[in-house]
Subunit: 70 residues, 6 copies
């Protein structure tokens, strides 16, 4: 009942339409798999600056610069 | 000890005074109900864009537009 | 890149198969909508006791008891 | 609209009644300060083992042992 | 001031000593890099069941079974 | 496997270099203490406005103003 879904992505220009699709899809997923009530399902999308997101011990910013310089 | 409270609301112009009241109230709630030490209680408010918040499978933005068009 | 999805549901007997479907579906959603790499997509499911989940100012436990007593 | 409040406390025997008061109080706080709709306010309480909670660089477990040994 | 660090790991037998080292290390990191006050730094470790953690679209449980069967 | 670390700090001018050090340090900590794979460790830094962060029942903004006026 009343699931809460938090989707964290890097801030790279997701459009309002894409965000609406994420919200719609995540809500439908909870309906399909667990029979949750879509009306009371909450989805929150956090967009995180690529300087603030790390993977493999470095920021996404640094990761991409290395890739581009190759 | 040292409770951590995270309040997530849509970003719609909450004033610094309102945020201060949320922080004061949440801290006092932990004191009143559980006897927590207010000094070490942390409250963090996240304000989320209405394009990024979904309910009933759609964004708050879409939800309000439908309501206004009725 | 590397989205992180946190799904919080009440603890009411979701099976390992249902959890696997949630993880698969949330990952696919990020692929479909944003073209994210599924390999680096992380999904974490939190199951929360119904005494610890509130809606409308009361616990799910209390909410259900009222409903059953009607 | 539809605030989400996450209260994280150490797991030390909070009763169902205390949890209900936290949920009721947090919901009312959002009503009082921001005029939020209580029906769609979600509150989730996480209880964390004292081995898993740190302050001042040590676990609550260690912190208390030092205090008791003084 | 008062950083909050949340470390989420799969539940696979981390010992109290290891948890204490994570808390100590994360706190020291904030001191070293940002000059934060260790006294008011909070670290919370969440241990998540491997059925509830997904990567690459499948649970860690399934991921390991495939690996073992190879 | 695939730890997720979320570091929440007040937004007060942490530089990209400092953020890179936090990501590097947190990832290394998980390697050192738990033997986690650095490649799949995710670190996300949230920077929170000082009006939105409370301690001892008041915002960091208010806390600092009192201190400065003494």
């Amino acid at each position: 009942m009343m699931p809460y879904v938090n989707i964290r992505i890097t801030k790279e220009g997701a459009t309002p339409e894409q965000k609406a699709l994420l919200i719609q899809g995540a809500t439908q997923l909870l309906v399909d798999v667990l029979g949750k009530n879509p009306v009371t399902t909450v989805v929150v999308i956090d967009e995180v600056d690529i300087d603030n997101w790390g993977m493999g011990g470095e920021t996404i910013t640094a990761f991409r610069q290395k890739f581009l310089n190759k």
